[in-house]
């Protein structure tokens, strides 16, 4: 600790350990670079005059909220969680017939992989392996992330169990895994909906359906890339179609802007968020179109699977990026709240 301290002290505090005692609460805060990323602020002052407008809509256009700090691995986890959930459910739905064995075992494998690789990705964001264990320190019903972590852990165990036992797994395990899978696939939607982020907050009712339908789509997309027999293919395709249609519908609804939320629903057309969002849309639609072509060809199937997967991944990154954009815009927070107040009065 003291080592970390003395090194950290050099920057920002510039206290000489020979002359000063460093035991303050913040003294443990490790600092690598002296300056935080001023980049996000520097250009602003050229654009903004320090001379205020007559009425003050905001504080020098500075962000009112903090942006999400999550890195690339989090959306990736969202995707994997979706696939895992979908597979778990499908696995449970399949009858124990031999012609579905391949699909069933693939599902078990993917479900198990998803719920184990997922946490690994989360840990990547946290930085330290042991840090993930803290997720299981308490159980907080108020926190979707807490609920999610526990379900993830539970599902993880069940999925592993059903993978090991395979066909011999008792139905309780199979159905348990399925239920856990639904949680894993869906809680992430609630997790985003349960934030102060103006965009996510605005669309809090839509996010869970979006995530779940997209989870179904992603599952199908992933399975479509695997060698399966005709029956299995049919099951996957039909299962997937439900998800893809649902996902498309949810995405359209997400984009809907009303005078009430015009500043908040933001970034779907511009910036990196917009790009990803549109890519997701295109990929999804293309996937569906391919599915509808009657011709039987494994390349068509694989292409559709690839597009769907791509779309599902883009969608999750798009949500993070557009969320960042929304957090950066003070009016996205102020506008809707003001109107709610006036409405209230």
């Amino acid at each position: 600790m003291s080592q970390a301290l003395t090194s950290g002290l050099k920057i920002g505090r510039e206290m000489d350990p020979d002359l000063a005692m460093l035991t303050g609460e913040g003294a443990q805060q490790r600092v690598k670079q002296a300056e935080p990323d001023a980049g996000s602020i520097v250009p602003l002052w050229q654009r903004i005059s320090s001379r205020p407008a007559e009425s003050l809509p905001d504080y020098y256009r500075l962000p009112l909220l903090k942006e999400p700090v999550w890195i690339w691995s989090v959306p990736a986890y969202f995707y994997l969680g979706g696939v895992a959930g979908g597979c778990a459910v499908l696995a449970a739905a399949l009858p124990g017939k031999r012609r579905f064995d391949a699909l069933a075992s693939w599902c078990r494998l993917l479900a198990c992989a998803g719920v184990t690789v997922g946490p690994a990705l989360l840990t990547w964001d946290l930085g330290k392996m042991t840090r993930f264990l803290n997720m299981l320190r308490v159980f907080r019903p108020s926190s979707p992330m807490s609920v999610g972590s526990w379900s993830l852990a539970g599902t993880g165990m069940l999925a592993t169990l059903s993978l090991l036992l395979g066909k011999k797994a008792p139905s309780s395990v199979r159905y348990g895994t399925a239920l856990g899978g639904v949680m894993v696939a869906g809680y992430t939607g609630v997790l985003l909906g349960n934030t102060a982020n103006p965009l996510w907050l605005e669309k809090r009712r839509l996010l869970p359906p979006l995530f779940i339908s997209s989870a179904i789509a992603s599952t199908a997309g992933a399975l479509e890339l695997l060698p399966l027999n005709l029956h299995e293919e049919k099951v996957v395709q039909r299962f997937g179609m439900v998800g893809k249609v649902g996902e498309a519908a949810a995405m359209v609804a997400m984009e809907r802007r009303t005078p009430a939320n015009k500043e908040a629903v933001y970034g779907f057309e511009k910036g990196r968020g917009g790009l990803l969002w549109n890519a997701a849309k295109v990929a999804l639609v293309a996937g569906v179109v391919l599915d509808l072509i009657p011709a039987k060809s494994s390349t068509r199937r694989k292409a559709s699977g690839l597009l769907t997967t791509l779309g599902a991944i883009c969608l999750r990154y798009a949500l993070l990026e557009t969320g960042k954009d929304a957090a950066r815009e003070p009016q996205a927070v102020i506008g809707p709240q003001r109107r709610r107040m006036q409405g209230g009065e």
Binding site: G12, R13, E14, D18, L19, W45, Q46, I48, S49, S50, R51
Partner: protein, 862 residues
């Protein structure tokens, strides 16, 4: 005040909570303005016009405090019939001496009387035998009806009659309405029931008429009866922990401890003469000899005897002005070899830093004591002229010693804070490495020098050999005992080593020893009084048992004025000190600043001497006649009454008189200190004023190294109004180059409505606000504001004018090829333009180092 003294401002806000009206007068809208009731943006350098108008308002509307003014001030005194006012001479007073290039104040005196001022330039009144003057004082002529045209009140009335609200509009850019709001608020809150206080800082002092700014405030406060009363007064907000102490125990060329003047070569040829010139026949300064002899005994101990005039001859004699800027000019001309700079950073904090560094380059050796090498210590490698290649480090011969100093937590000693309060600091930790206190440095230097001179028989070395220097020391580092030094400052009885408990005990027969008479009693009974820390919650609101205030632990000076003629408080609300008829003594919440058993009805007999000349209604005991001076019969070099003069470099012609500037001001007419035109210099069309920010400290030596402060104000910037920004194409957050004939700097631009232009008779005047904290070393850097300023000073105290001068501002960064830092004009000097002075004044004799000033003996060396 909120900017530079936030915790002092705590009490202003407390007063506001209780309903006080806060008026803030400043060219900028500062953190003080933000919470003030009234903010008055004034053109920098025009305060006397504003304050003078307040005087006029008070008198013409008959709002002055009658009983107070008639009895406690010199309003009734008659002035010599030879006196002529600026009214009669278009901005000059009578007595301008063309030969000497200065005023002869004889005609300013009281009718038939010669009085000595409580402070200021004693050399200015001729030295007749004391007794005579004492006698005349009692016979001073008065007109208590205040109607005699020669009485102070009438002269005051005439003098300020032209300072009208209209003049305020033209000279200060303040609307009549706003002025009247201020005037009314001030008068409504003065009188028996209420008092008003005036706080100022260097925004008032750093002008060529700085002293007269304060004088005008004094006149206002005396007229309103706001001096010597609780909630009244004029407060100088000191910018440093012990700036007050540094003048009480002065490291100033013209003073010895306790405001005793340094001997002057051509007057004070021996102790007798010295005392004659500096003692007053009446008032408290009649005690002068006691203080001087006790000081000499403190310094030279047994060697000081009546026979050898208590070693008076050991003291060096001054010949005119040896103040900071004069010294640096001499330095630049190669007349100074060695320079000690202790905890000071002139290469950033002083005027015309290029000239400062030029001075440093001419030195043989330089000693700097500080936390880390400052710009002054680094001048030979970190300076604009080095960066531009104008000067090569390898051409600089100066030998530089940097001594790391101990922090305030690593040594013990006293600060004298702004309210004359001595507070003792205990030592918390040992200084690291070779860091030492300045006390350690000076004491050990002294010991080494005594050693070096031990065997000398040369008479010039007697002073060092006889110097008493035996203070105990402690610890491995041999830190001298600060408490023993404090004890000597307090003084003790030479015969029986008993500590003196007050300056009244001092004697002139050599039996008392005292290092600084006004500090007498700070070590009363061997108790370290400044170390007293009785919690505020456990004593009355005056808190007399926290630290120790000079003189005699008085918290409010001249507090006898808080009571009326009979010695009763003017009002219950403003009760402070009163006469207790039973005990036959003055009493109250504070130590009475008066002869404690002198009844209000006491009147001196005509032949009274010394302090017996003070009557029971003479609260201002330091003055010869015990009255507050509305009019200064002597002591000031630039006139008995404040008069509005424009700054050396102005944007306006003096709207009141033909005389543009203070005739007695000090000018340095030299190539490396060029001045702009008197006014309307198209090359330098804007007003500039320098100042501090809350987040930094003066020249930055104590703040520019601290990340916690640097992040709050990270780099040098200037403040301009949106109007000026538009005019000069300045972008908020962008760069600007600011220049004068002395130098050129670049800074970030902060465009803000807190700066605002003044429209004065049709012309728009813009002000550029320039914080002066930054320079070339430290963790937060920028160009130094004082690259721009010039050597130019007030005649009375030689303080520079940095609060109002003219500059040019252009958008963009500084051009690197411009070379001025080494000290030559940036622009070809342009001698033309309007005159600053009336013809007789123009012929000021030039002194050494290009110095021109109306100051006694200045030219003797030339």
């Amino acid at each position: 005040m909120a900017e530079c003294h936030p915790v002092g401002f705590r009490w202003v806000m407390e007063a506001k909570r209780r309903g006080a009206t806060i008026i803030h007068i400043d060219p900028r809208f500062t953190r003080t303005s933000a919470v003030a009731d009234i903010h008055v943006p004034i053109r920098a350098g025009s305060d006397i016009a504003f304050l003078g108008a307040l005087v006029n308002y008070i008198i013409s509307n008959d709002l002055w405090f009658k009983d107070y003014v008639v009895n406690y001030t010199n309003a009734a005194a008659l002035i010599s019939k030879d006196f002529q006012d600026t009214e009669d001479l278009d901005g000059l007073f009578s007595g301008w001496d063309v030969e000497k290039g200065q005023y002869d104040p004889a005609s300013w005196q009281y009718e038939g009387v010669e009085v000595s001022p409580a402070a200021g330039h004693r050399e200015m009144f001729s030295g007749e035998p004391r007794a005579e003057r004492g006698a005349i004082i009692a016979a001073e002529k008065h007109d208590y009806t205040l109607t005699d045209p020669k009485c102070v009140f009438q002269i005051l009335k005439r003098h300020f009659s032209r300072y009208t609200a209209e003049v305020v509009e033209d000279a200060c850019g303040i609307s009549k309405a706003l002025f009247e709001k201020v005037a009314r608020a001030l008068c409504d809150n003065s009188g028996r029931e209420r008092t008003s206080a005036i706080c100022y800082a260097v925004g008032w002092t750093q002008h060529t008429v700085g002293v007269q700014y304060i004088r005008t405030a004094a006149i206002i406060q005396l007229l309103l009866g706001n001096i010597g009363r609780p909630g009244g007064g004029i407060m100088a907000l000191r910018g440093h922990a012990s700036i007050q102490g540094s003048t009480d125990i002065p490291t100033l060329y013209n003073m010895l401890p306790g405001y005793l003047p340094m001997p002057k070569a051509s007057y004070d040829t021996d102790l007798q003469k010295y005392i004659e010139f500096n003692e007053s026949a009446s008032g408290w300064w009649s005690e002068f000899p006691k203080y001087m002899v006790s000081l000499l005994k403190a310094w030279y101990g047994p060697a000081a005897t009546a026979e050898n005039q208590w070693c008076y001859d050991y003291l060096p004699h001054i010949t005119g002005d040896h103040s900071h800027m004069v010294t640096v000019a001499a330095m630049a001309d190669g007349f100074v070899q060695g320079y000690f700079v202790m905890g000071e950073n002139p290469a950033v904090g002083s005027m015309n830093t290029a000239l400062q560094r030029k001075g440093l380059r001419q030195l043989k050796w330089l000693v700097v004591n500080d936390f880390a090498p400052t710009e002054t210590a680094e001048f030979w490698r970190k300076a604009p002229e080095i960066a531009s290649g104008e000067i090569k480090t390898t051409d600089i011969a100066t030998e530089v010693f940097f001594f790391p100093c101990a922090a305030h937590t690593e040594k013990e000693g006293t600060f004298t804070n702004t309210q004359r309060l001595l507070q003792w600091r205990h030592k918390a930790v040992e200084p690291p490495g070779d860091c030492r206190s300045d006390l350690h440095f000076i004491w050990h230097l002294g010991r080494r020098l005594k050693e070096l001179y031990r065997d000398s028989t040369d008479s010039k070395d007697r002073a060092i050999r006889d110097l008493t220097w035996d203070y105990g020391s402690k610890g491995a580092i041999e830190e001298p005992e600060a408490e023993q030094v404090l004890a000597e400052i307090n003084g003790y009885d030479s015969s029986e080593q008993k500590y003196i408990s007050g300056y009244k005990e001092l004697k002139s027969d050599g039996t008392t020893i005292c290092g600084c008479w006004i500090y007498c009693g700070c070590y009363k009974d061997g108790v370290n009084q400044p170390a007293r820390r009785k919690p505020a919650s456990e004593q009355n609101w005056v808190a007399p048992e926290w630290g120790w205030a000079w003189p005699d632990n008085r918290r409010l000076l001249y507090n006898r004025a808080s009571a009326d003629l009979e010695g009763k408080p003017w009002s219950e609300r403003k009760k402070y000190i009163w006469w207790d008829e039973e005990q036959k003594k003055w009493t109250g919440y504070d130590t009475p600043d008066f002869i404690v058993n002198r009844p209000p009805d006491y009147r001196p007999s005509p032949d009274a001497k010394g302090i017996d000349t003070l009557s029971g209604i003479d609260p201002f005991i330091m003055q010869a006649e015990g009255k507050g001076w509305l009019y200064d019969p002597s002591g000031l070099l630039d006139g008995p009454l404040p008069t509005h003069y424009e700054p050396e470099e102005s944007v306006l012609k003096n709207p009141l008189y033909g005389q543009q500037c203070n005739p007695a001001r000090m000018e340095w007419v030299r190539r490396d200190n060029p001045y702009h035109k008197a006014w309307g210099d198209s090359r330098y069309p804007f007003i500039a004023t320098t100042y501090r920010l809350t987040e930094h400290h003066t020249a930055g030596g104590m703040s520019r190294w601290l990340p916690w402060l640097c992040e709050l104000q990270p780099e040098m910037f200037i403040e301009v109004s949106p109007e000026l920004a538009e005019l000069r194409g300045l972008k908020n957050g962008g760069w600007a180059t600011i220049s004068t004939m002395r130098g050129e700097i670049e800074a970030r631009v902060l465009v803000t409505e807190r700066m605002q232009p003044y429209v004065q008779n049709g012309t728009t005047l813009h002000t550029v606000g320039i914080p002066y904290h930054w320079s070339y070393v430290g963790r937060s850097r920028g160009n130094a504001a004082n690259e721009l300023t010039a050597f130019i000073a007030d005649p009375n105290v030689s303080i520079e004018e940095s609060k109002a001068f003219s500059v040019q501002v252009i958008a963009g960064r500084k051009r690197s090829d411009r070379r001025a830092a080494a000290g030559g004009p940036l622009n070809e000097s342009d001698s033309g333009g309007p005159e600053r002075d009336h013809p007789p004044v123009q012929e000021k004799p030039g002194g050494k180092h290009g110095l021109k000033a109306g100051k006694t003996e200045l030219t003797e060396e030339a």
